[in-house]
Amino acid sequence: IVNDTFTAQQHPKHPTNMSISRAIVGCKRVIDYAVKIRVRPDKLGVVTDGVKHSMNPFDEIAVEEAIKLKEAGKVQEIVAVSCGPKECGETIKTALAMGADRGVHVLVEGPAYEGLQPLAVAKLFKEVVAAQEANLVLLGKQAIDDDGNQTAQMLAGLLDWPQGTFTSELELDADGKKFKVLREVDGGLETLNVTVPCVISADLRLNTPRYATLPNIMKAKKKKVDVITPEDLKVDITPRLEILSVEDPPVRQGGSFVENVDQLLDKLKNEAKVL
């Protein structure tokens, strides 16, 4: 059943001469970074039951960047989007408490959620972006559970929009038509101009996310969150990848002392097999 209040008509764009009327921010619910991860007995995943979850740290940075743009008058409205089970409502609420205006929750539960992979998420986001008539998408560079680092790139491809990934600095031009994006890449720092509309993925040093203050947490209760399903968006989320096994990394062996360089070379060649 399509939720009629979801479409853009119900949330009219503010009259504006800013080119960024609506920003979509993705926030994924992941196992909290401080939790000690344990592999499931069936070796097909990790234990998630009863484990503390929170918003993906890179997504928090993306939310913060969106709010900063809004506070600077560069973005009119921020919509926080999350795909997953009903607990994702809390993740969206956190984004609302930080300062997002509205939320969209794409409800995916049970086995369908276990099989939800970046390509499917990118397809879901593409439909949400179209329905919301957004012209900016901010995502975290990767999720700390799957370390995928794919959704932003795939989404940009599907939308046929330019992308600025691993962003550590973001500056909107005075005319509001393009971003100057500073990217942290393996070779150093790269600066790009990325025209709007675009997809930006946030890296660690982009900003320091604010706390959602307690009064804002209470105010967030009044903000609207639309709940829809992949069927409403007509997206097929069947996984394309099958997880064969999940294992703990090998237990770390102690090192050993060597007497001289010859011994070192011998060990590197014959034991570690790196030469």
């Binding site: 706390y211 203050t213 307690l214 009064p215 947490i217």
Partner: protein, 414 residues
């Protein structure tokens, strides 16, 4: 024989009229005590983050100098942690009493001294003003208490602690009846170094005994009000505790909270519930101490294995974990009883008494488990050990809690 001690422990019937009954009472029956609402959990998590990020780095220094860091003090206000139950129309968060206890607990896990300030401000000062202050007083002071400065509750004196109503501070009415003149000295006043507002209990007519005790809202800038230097304490050192002297302080009659001569009732009432907050603080202290000590037991190896794996140690930390859980359940059940508008005085006294004992047990054991390093200031256990003692003393000593519990039980058998 109606001694003043008896007056302190007699249940106050007036109290129930002031409390709304929980709307979802029928749903509470099937929920575990440890199950909190979404809002309560969000608030708890925010405070946990704030405590870890902003408070934790300053704990040692604040304890050493006995001064609360400005960043911590301001940060508490900026994040709404000092206005947990104040309604939104007075710039507060509008949370439940349980959410306040959860926040107090989270802060105590990191620093019981900061938690003491948060607790007294929220559960004693703000709530006294909210419950008995006139609309005009609430509008005048609640927004400032929510966003700007901390408040103090001035009841105890050199000659009156447990025997609170033996207080000697007078508030004699002026001849034209427009104001009262306060004279006296209060002792052991928490938050006094920074407080912008003092809720002072003074007697308008000593010939009436405790029936003359009245509660006054006295701003810091009042002429004749003097805050003395803070005490050099064993524990919770970052929380300021000072004498406050009143020399001919003029207080307008509009600043009386509730009715003249009813102050003793308000004091008992607020302390009956405030002690649940202390219970939460002590549970947080115990939990924080326990959690900071346990990892060490699996790092420290003796006789070929981690000491945490010896049965002797397993049995000890199992006992302590059980004690912490039992104290937590007493505290949060008392909090829910209060929210539901049900009688809670006995349960609140039990909660505070148990929690303070558990805090002491936990801190003491943690130092033993840590061994030599636990005895140094390099590890957090020694501070928790010093901080826990106050739990048995303030907001009603442990002996007073026992008497309160006994009085409640006796009623059923006399």
């Amino acid at each position: 024989m109606a001694s003043r001690l008896w007056a302190l422990t007699r249940p106050v019937r007036i109290y129930r009229k002031l409390q709304p009954v929980a709307k979802n009472y029928s749903n509470l029956a099937s929920r575990p005590i440890n199950m909190y609402s979404e809002d309560e959990i969000m608030m708890k998590e925010l405070v946990a983050r704030f405590s870890a990020d902003v408070v934790a780095p300053n704990v040692k220094e604040m304890d050493r100098t006995s001064v609360m860091t400005e960043d911590v003090y301001r940060g508490l206000f900026e994040n709404g942690i000092m206005s947990l139950e104040i309604p939104a129309e007075y710039s507060g968060v509008g949370g439940t009493f349980t959410s306040a206890c959860l926040c107090i607990e989270e802060v105590a896990k990191v620093d019981p001294a900061v938690s003491a300030m948060v607790d007294v401000h929220n559960t004693v000062v703000n709530n006294t003003l909210s419950m008995w202050g006139s609309e005009e007083l609430k509008e005048r002071f609640l927004p400032s208490l929510a966003t700007e400065y901390v408040g103090s509750f001035c009841l105890s004196e050199a000659g009156s602690g447990s025997d609170a109503f033996a207080l000697k501070t007078t508030a004699l009415p002026s001849t034209d009846g427009s104001h009262y003149i306060l004279n006296g000295e209060k002792l052991w006043i928490s938050n006094a170094s920074q407080a912008g507002l003092f809720l002072v209990f003074a007697n308008v007519d000593p010939s009436q005994g405790y029936k003359g005790i009245t509660c006054f809202a006295v701003p810091r800038e009042s002429e004749g009000l003097e805050v003395g230097p803070h005490e050099d304490k064993l524990g919770i050192r970052a929380s300021s505790t000072c004498p406050v002297r009143f020399s001919d302080v003029k207080v307008p009659k509009e600043n009386v909270l509730g009715d003249v001569g009813q102050g003793y009732k308000y004091a008992i009432s607020i302390l009956n519930e405030g002690r649940i907050g202390i219970g939460a603080q002590m549970v947080g202290l115990a939990e924080g101490c326990f959690e900071s000590t346990m990892p060490y037991l699996f790092e420290r190896k003796q006789f070929g294995q981690a000491i945490g794996n010896f049965q002797g140690m397993e049995m000890q930390y199992a006992e302590v974990a059980m004690e912490i859980e039992s104290a937590r359940l007493l505290v949060y059940n008392a909090a829910r009883l209060k929210e539901a508008g049900l009688p809670f005085i006995k349960e609140a006294a039990m909660a505070k008494l148990k929690a303070s004992r558990v805090a002491e047990l936990t801190a003491s054991k943690c130092i033993e488990w840590l061994g030599g390093v636990g005895f140094t200031k390099d590890y957090p256990a020694e501070k928790f050990y010093r901080d826990c003692k106050i739990g048995a003393i303030y907001e009603g000593t442990s002996n007073i809690q026992l008497i309160t519990i006994a009085k409640n039980i006796k009623q059923n058998f006399q």
